[in-house]
C-alpha cells in the first residue's frame, strides 16, 4: 500500500521547484556572459531585473520546506532531503546574485574595447554551466558519481581563474590605462569561480542526502 502519498507529492514538488530555480539561474549566467561577449546591455539589464524572480523562488522553496518540517515531522532521508533542499536553494540564489554581479560589471564596461580576447571567461562559463547541470542532475538522480565529479570540475575552474588573474595582472602592470578594465574582468572571473563553488556546495548537499555525511568537495 502506498503510504504518505501527499508527503511524497510535496517532496516531488520540492524537487521540481529546485530544478526550475536552477534552470533560471543558469539562464541568468548565460545571458550575463553573452552580454559581455556581445556588449548587449539589454541582456545585462534582463539579468539584473530577473533576479527578483530567483529570490522569490528561494522564498517559496524555504516556505515549502518549513511547512513540511512543521506538518510532516520528517526524519532520516526525508529530513535530509528537506534540509539539503533549503541549502541548495540558498546556493542557487547566491549563484543568481553572482550572475547579477557579472551583468552589472558588463554594464560598467559599456562602450569599451576589450583589452584582450575573451578566452578564459567563456571557458569558465561553459564549465560552471555544466557544473550546475550536473549538480541538478545529481540531485534528481541521487547520483553520488555526478556529485563527487563536481570537485574535479571545480578544480578546472579554479585553475582557469588563476591563469586569467596572472594574465590580467601582467596587462595591468604593462598598460596602466587598461588596469581598470583588467580589474573588472578579474571580478567577472571571480564571480564565475564563486558560482563554481556554489555548484560544488549543491553536490555536497546531494551527497549529504544520499549518505547522511558531510563531505568537503571544495
Amino acid at each position: 500500500m502506498q503510504q504518505r502519498q501527499n508527503f511524497d507529492i510535496s517532496l516531488r514538488e520540492l524537487k521540481l521547484q529546485l530544478l526550475h530555480m536552477g534552470g533560471d539561474v543558469q539562464e541568468g549566467i548565460r545571458k550575463a556572459i553573452e552580454a559581455l561577449k556581445t556588449g548587449d546591455m539589454n541582456l545585462a539589464n534582463q539579468v539584473v531585473h530577473g533576479d527578483i524572480y530567483i529570490n522569490q523562488q528561494e522564498h517559496e522553496i524555504e516556505n515549502l520546506c518549513i511547512r513540511l518540517i512543521a506538518t510532516q515531522q520528517p526524519v532520516a532521508t526525508d529530513l535530509r532531503k528537506i534540509v539539503a533542499g533549503m541549502q541548495i536553494a540558498t546556493d542557487l540564489e547566491r549563484m543568481g546574485d553572482n550572475a547579477v554581479d557579472i551583468a552589472k560589471t558588463v554594464s560598467r564596461l559599456q562602450g569599451q574595447t576589450l583589452i584582450k580576447p575573451l578566452v578564459d571567461i567563456p571557458r569558465m562559463a561553459t564549465i560552471v554551466d555544466t557544473m550546475i547541470s550536473n549538480a541538478l542532475n545529481a540531485y534528481v538522480e541521487n547520483s553520488l558519481d555526478l556529485a563527487e565529479n563536481l570537485a574535479t570540475q571545480d578544480d578546472e575552474v579554479d585553475h582557469l581563474y588563476r591563469q586569467m588573474m596572472e594574465e590580467l595582472f601582467a596587462i595591468g602592470k604593462d598598460r596602466p590605462n587598461a588596469a581598470n578594465q583588467a580589474m573588472s574582468l578579474a571580478f567577472i572571473g571571480r564571480y564565475l569561480e564563486r558560482i563554481g563553488d556554489h555548484a560544488t556546495n549543491v553536490g555536497e548537499g546531494v551527497i549529504f542526502i544520499i549518505t547522511g555525511k558531510h563531505p568537503d568537495l571544495n
Partner: protein, 250 residues
Amino acid sequence: MSQPISVQNLRAWYGNQLTLKGIDMELPASQVTAIIGPSGCGKSTFIRCLNRMHETVPGARVEGDVHLGTEDLYKGDPVDVRRMIGMVFQKPNPFPTLSIFDNIALGLRLGGMRNRGQLREAVERSLQMAALWGEVKDRLSEPATSLSGGQQQRLCIARAIAVQPEVLLMDEPASALDPVSTLRVEELVEQLKDTYTIVIVTHNMQQAARVADETAFFLNGELVEFADTTTIFTNPGDKRTEDYITGRFG
C-alpha cells in the same frame, strides 16, 4: 544507583506462537531506551519479560537470560523482580477506591513500612519526584480518581518509584494523555533517568526522538536495529528502520 540490563537470546511464546525470536540487548544504566515498532512486533512482550510479567499470562513462556547488573532475574522470586523493576501502563490505573496518599503508601506498607512519619516522607518524596506534589499536597486524602488523566499517570509513576526500584518500564505512558500532560510526563522521564534505568515503549516516534538516549526498532519479534536515538532518526543503518520511521510501512 541504577543498573544496566543485559538481555541474551531472549525468546518468548504465547502458546505455540514464538513472539520474541532471540533478542540480545544491553540497556545502559541511567539512560532512557525507547522501543519502537509496529503493532504486534513484540515490543510490549519484550518489556513484560524484563519484569517477569509475561509468564503470568496463561500458556506464555520465556527462555533466555535477563540480568540486572549481575543479578539473574529469572533465578529469583518474581515478586522481588517486580519490586526492583517498576512498571507504568498505557492507561493510568490508580487504585480507584484509595486516596492519593494511600495509592502510594500501599506498596510501602506491603514492603513493611509502618512508621507514619516515614510513610509521609516517602509519599512526599515520590510525589515530588513525579512532579505532582505541588498539585496534590493539599488534597492527599481525596480519591485518586479525582485527579485529571495526566495527574493520574504521574501518580502511577510516583507509585512505581515509591518502592525505590532500579528500573522503570513504561508501556505507552502518554498515549492516553493530552499534549500538555504528555510533555509533562516526558520532562519527568528526563528528570528520572539519572536515578533509574528507563525503558519506554512508544508508538509516538517524535516522543522516542525527544526522550530517549537509545532507540531500538523491533519488527516481527526481532531486534532490527539498536543505536543512539540521533542515529536512528537521522541516518538509520537498516532500510527497514528507515521505512518504518519515515512512515513508508507499518
